[in-house]
Every structure is written in C-alpha cells, then in structure tokens.
C-alpha cells in the first residue's frame, strides 16, 4: 500500500469513527457494571415498554403500508377527479413535524377540544379520552409518516411496465386481482423500504409519545437520564433500541437490493379510468386524508397562532430563532463538510473493504433515535472524565456539558446519513475518465478536489445541507437532553408549551418553525437555480 493511501485511510477512518462514536458507546453499554436501577427498569418497566412499543410499531406499520400503498396506487394507476393536484398535495404532510401534528390533534380531538364538545352538545354522544389505548397515537403517526411509504410506492408503481398490466388485463384479470398479483408483489421492496423508514422514525420519536403520555423506549431512556441521572441504564436501554434499529437497517438494505424489476422509463399513462361515482368516492377519500393530515392542522395552527400571538410573542423568540439558526446552520455545515470528505471519490477508498465498512457505520445514526445519540455522547464524555480523573487529571464534564459542542456532535452523528447519501449520489456523476484526463493534464490531488470534484458534487452538497438543516431544525429528543442553558430552540418551545396543554400558544413557535423551513427551502431553490442549472 502506498504511503498516500495509508494517510487517506487513517484520516478518513478517524473521521468516520468519531461520527460513529455514540453508536459504539451505546453498543458497549452491556459491558458496564450493573446499575441497581437497571433491576428496577428491567423487572417493572421493561415488559410493558416492549409490549407498548410493539403495539405501536405494528399499528403504525400496518396503517402506513395500507394508506401509503393504496394512495400511491390510485394516483399512479387510476384517473379520478382532482388526481393531478392530489398527487403532489399528498407529499405536503412531510413538512409538518409529527409532534406538531400530535398537539394539533390533541387540541382539537381531546375531551376539551371543540370536536368532542360539539359531539357532546349537538349529537349527545359521550366523550372519550383520546390518550386512552393506542388507536389515537397510532393514527397520528400514520398521518405523519404515511408519506414515506407513499413516496417510495409511488415511484415504484410509476416504473412498472405498463405493458405488463395490459398483458394481465388481456389475460382476463380484474383490477383487484392485478393489484394483488402483479403491482403489489413488484412494488414490495419499495413498500417494505418505506415501512422500515417509518418504523425507524416511530422508534426514534420522542415528541408524539410524550405528548400522548405513551411510554416507549425513548421515553424510558429520557426518564433514566432526565429523572434518575443514570446514564448507564439509559445506555443499556438505548442499546436494545440499537439492536432493533440494526435489524431494521438490515432488512431495509435487503429490500432495496431486491428491487430489480423496474423499468427505467417512468410512465404517466393511466391504466384505469374511474368515471362517475367510483371516481368521486376515490377523490373524497384522498381529499379527506389530505385535509386531516395537512389542511386542517395548518388552518388550526393559523387560527391558534392568530389568537395567541400577542400573548405568546416576546423578545425571547429572538433567542429561540437565534439558537435554532446557529444550531441549524453550524451543524449543517459541519455535517456536509465531513460527508463531503467521506464521499470524495478515490481509489484508496473503493479498494478498502475496511474503510467502506467504517463509512457505512458512520451513516447508521439516522436509524437511531436522537435520544440514543445523546446518551451515547453523555456516557462517552463521562467515561473520558472518569479515566482522566483516574490518571490524576481533571474531569471535562463541566466544560462539555455546558456547551453546545455535544449537541452539535449529536446532530452531526444523527444526520450524517442524510448528508452523505445526497453527496455520495452526486459523486457518482464523476466518471473515472474525467479523473484520469484531469490527472493526465497534470492536476494535483488538491486541484482535482477543488476544480473537479467539488463543483460536480456541489448540487448534492447543497441538497444534503438543506435536508440536514430541516431535520436539525425540528429535532427534539437530542436537543431536549443535551441543550445547554439558554439554548432553547423553536422545537423545544413547541414541545414545552404543548406538553403543558397550551396548544394555542404552541402554534406560534410551530408556525415560526414552518416559516423557517419554508425560508430554508426558498434559499435552497434560489441557490440551486442560480448556480447549478447546468447539472
């Protein structure tokens, strides 16, 4: 191995390992001495946690698959009134964080919400507790996360060969038979991939479950650290989540690998025309999903925001916006810089199984809840302090825990995959012949990076930065655990107000947050149009 390669490998490995540090720490939590609190957690809480989490995952999984697949099939294969705009409108719920949806639903449909008041007063029906059981929280997650399945299933239905469905029709098969025998089996990998992302997001969620008072692993991890300051127990609980997440990642990769039956052409031909009543019924169903998942929550936020802006708005919002902006921008920059270094093409990299393995490890964070990241970091740092004190040095806890360093670290670890995937996809456009010709023209490695790699990868870097920024902006669990005093973000403000049941007031930071996301999108589109139209 030449010297240059060795240097590249060492530096890239260090960078990737650093990003993957929280995962390692949590993974090794089982080697820790047993904490007495673990006994309490494992005997009294763990069985309930497991069953509650399993019910949630099964319910959300079944719901998102059903809704996402059916909606995707209709918009791709069937022509019905309003199909064109609904096809795009169904993506919009993506922009609303799940916990915002949750507090709007709680505000509207809870016992004291006007939906139930109306039901009791005008229909004479008895009221019910929306937090009882798990159906309401499952529905909330389904409306928040169905776009994952919808997006992937839609793309896959679009790439199915039209001639295959037509052949099925001519062989006498009815639409429903064709759906189950041809369309669905061919889209299975895409639907499964969407389902697994949904399950990872559900598992990672902190906001929705705590607003609904529904105990899952994430709330238990928070409780172990937040209430008991037992970081070992938190890490051990987190490691169980890591295990589940690894399973999910494994199956997701497998599902993607199986997706080989696609045509490269995208077809917009509609195979069925739902005329008359059936068409209107489909429209009615799709519109009601859109209303429930997006339109109603947005309108409600606007109404609440309008009513409470005077009471809620104050100078402290300048601080929230400032914190959110700094954290978003800084973590997006750090993430894309590291992701770019990891994704830069190079012979040394492609030749090394070890290096590709570590890079993959560094991008696993996305499947892990922010709380796991946070616990991994807290534990890692506290152990470094213990070692440092053991050798007569000083604890670094007080320096690290009071700064935003840990929080930024957690964001970078958690969202590395998003930045990396986007940048790596762009780096695939750099053909080997391009590199070879630049080299033959005498370009040094540095010149190659600055003048060839970066400009070609720039649209991917920009897109990666935007995606990371949007995710950091709405991130809740890691921020909640790791934010230093005075660093409350808009997401934290939304959560804290809604956790106290102050839904009207929580609408204000939620709207500011959505506006913030819209501005980020605007900047992205402007830059993309201005600089990269040629790509």
């Amino acid at each position: 191995m030449d010297k240059k390669c060795l240097k590249t490998k060492i530096w890239t490995s260090i960078l990737a390992l650093l990003v993957a540090m929280p995962i390692f720490v949590v993974g090794f939590a089982w080697f820790l001495p047993e904490h007495e609190l673990w006994q309490h957690f494992s005997t009294t809480l763990l069985p309930d946690l497991i069953s509650a989490t399993a019910i949630l995952l099964i319910g959300v999984g079944a719901g998102t698959v059903l809704l996402g697949t059916v909606l995707a099939y209709w918009v791709v294969m069937v022509e019905f009134p309003g199909r064109k705009w609904l096809e795009w409108a169904l993506f919009l719920p993506f922009s609303v964080p799940a916990y915002v949806l949750a507090f709007v639903y709680l505000g509207v449909f809870d016992y004291s919400g006007y939906a139930q008041i109306w039901m009791r007063e005008f229909l004479g029906l008895p009221g019910f507790d929306i937090r009882a059981g798990s159906w309401a929280i499952i529905l909330t997650f389904v409306f928040a996360f169905y776009p994952y399945v919808y997006m992937m299933a839609r793309a896959s239905f679009k790439r199915q060969k039209v001639s295959m469905i037509e052949a099925g029709k001519l062989l006498g098969a009815r639409p429903i038979y064709l759906f189950f025998k041809i369309s669905l089996p061919l889209s299975r990998p895409a639907v499964v991939a969407g389902l697994l992302v949904t399950l990872m997001e559900t598992l990672a969620d902190f906001g929705v479950v705590s607003l609904f008072n529904y105990d899952t692993f994430t709330t238990a991890i928070y409780s172990a650290w937040g209430d008991f300051r037992a970081v070992e127990v938190a890490a051990q609980l987190a490691s169980l989540l890591v295990l589940v997440a690894f399973f999910l990642i494994y199956f997701e990769r497998k599902a993607r690998g199986e997706a080989k039956y696609y045509s490269t052409e995208v077809s917009n031909k509609k195979l069925y025309y739902a005329n008359g009543l059936s068409g209107w019924l489909i429209s009615l169903f799709v519109v009601s999903i859109f209303l429930l998942a997006f339109m109603m929550p947005m309108l409600q936020l606007l109404i609440w925001g309008w009513e409470s802006i005077e009471q809620e708005w104050s100078v402290k919002y300048i601080d929230f916006i400032y914190s959110t902006t700094i954290l978003t921008v800084v973590s997006a920059i750090i993430t894309v810089v590291i992701a770019t270094i990891l994704a830069l093409p190079g012979q040394c990299k492609t030749d090394s199984v070890w290096l590709t393995g570590i890079i993959r490890l560094a991008t696993l964070g996305y499947a892990l809840p922010g709380s796991v990241m946070a616990v991994g970091l807290l534990y890692g740092i506290s152990q470094i302090s213990v070692i440092s004190v053991y050798f007569g040095g000083e604890s670094i806890n007080h320096i690290i825990f009071g700064s935003i360093f840990l929080l930024l670290f957690a964001y970078v670890s958690r969202f590395m995959a998003i930045g990396y995937n986007s940048i790596e996809a762009a780096s695939k456009q750099i053909k080997p012949s391009l590199i070879q010709s630049a080299r033959l023209l005498g370009a040094s490695r540095l010149k190659l990076i600055w003048q060839i790699y970066i400009p070609i990868m720039a649209p991917g870097i920009l897109a990666g930065a935007l995606l990371v920024a949007v995710d950091v902006m709405k991130e809740l669990p890691a921020t909640y655990l790791l934010r230093p005093f005075g660093w409350d973000t808009l997401a934290i403000q939304v959560y804290e107000l809604s956790a106290e049941g102050l839904f009207e007031r929580a609408a204000v930071p939620a709207l500011v947050m959505l506006l913030f996301a819209a501005i980020l999108m605007g900047i992205f589109q402007y830059l993309d149009k201005k600089f990269f139209k040629t790509f």
Binding site: M164, E166, L171, G172, A173
Partner: protein, 218 residues
Amino acid sequence: MLAVRDLSITYQNNKVLDGFSLNLEQGDIFALLGESGSGKSSALRFIAGLDNAKGGRVELGGRELSIDGGHKIMPELREIGMVFQDYALFPHMTVEKNIAFGISHLRKKTQKLHVNALLEMVDLSGIEKKYPHQLSGGEQQRVALARALAPSPKLLLLDEPFSNLDKNHRDKLIFQVRDILKQSSVTSILVTHDRDEANMLADKVGTIENKHLIEEKK
C-alpha cells in the same frame, strides 16, 4: 370473424389513421406493415381495447366490442390475446405461473396439463420453473406467445414481437411461430415495419399508406 370499421386515430392533434377497415376470417394470419408513427400499433391497441380512438367499430365473432371509438367490452372480457414488443412477462413469476395466469380459474391439474401442452408446442418443455430473467430473448418471446395462447383467445395480436431479436435467430423463430399459429388455428394480426418478417409469417399483408390500409395480394 374480425371486422374493423372506419377506425380513425389522432395523435397530438394529428390524424394518423382515417377510415381504416379490415376483415379477417377464422385462422387468418394478417401482417400490418407501416413506418413508425403510422398508427399501426395504435390500431392494434384499439382492437385490444387498451386505447380509445376518435372513431371506429370492432366486431369479433359476431360480438360488438367497440363502437364510436369507445369500448363496450373491457380488455379483460374480449378474449383477445396479445404478445407485446417487450414481451411483458411477469418477472416475479416462473414460466409456469406466467403461462397459467390467464387460466387461473381452471383446476390446478387442468392448468398444469394446459401449460405442459403449450410449452411442448413452443418447444420449451422443461423450463417451467425458470424465471423470465433466466431465459434468452427468443425463449422469452415464445413464453409470451404460450401465455397469450393459453386462454384460447379468438384473436391474437402480435406487436412487433421479433424486433428485439437478432436476424439469424429471428428467421428461425418466425417459421416456428407461424407453425404454432397454424396449429392452434387462431386468427392473428402481426404489426411490423419489416416486410420480410411480414411475408414470412402472414397469409395476408396490408400496408398503412396515407392514413389508409392498402391490402396487398400475396
């Protein structure tokens, strides 16, 4: 047997077919020649009930299938088989399952007998358990043919089924297909832009010229 009357098709506001009429008797093999964009595939798709037209009527075996450019009978009830240009085999099903797709209402045992007989006819016995991606282009084409013939259609449509094959292979296959079609005595329409192909396979040949069908003597 098959009667197509006054078919007119427009494509992006351009009339490509106008007053296209065709009559075929039981067991006829007809080749429809035309340049690309001449509307020959569109005519086939209208007969199959897959696309609408501006005007035109289709009657098959005394049953009115389409009228005024719209369809009275849906494709799944027309008893028309079709071999597509890309074969459109179902990639997640074995050869056996592909062929049995159109006869799934029959008993399993009967299905199996049918499939075996068809595989023998297309000279592919023994590949029942293979998947489409494990077959050569010619084999895929014959499986597609067997699948289309399985429900014993009254009419078979072949949409440029030889265009993806190399010449040597193709000539041999055309004669094979002709034998199979004659053996099953199914009325067939082949759409192609290749005159040799048309002459080798068909009893009757017609060309689309100036939006009309001109039947040729063979």
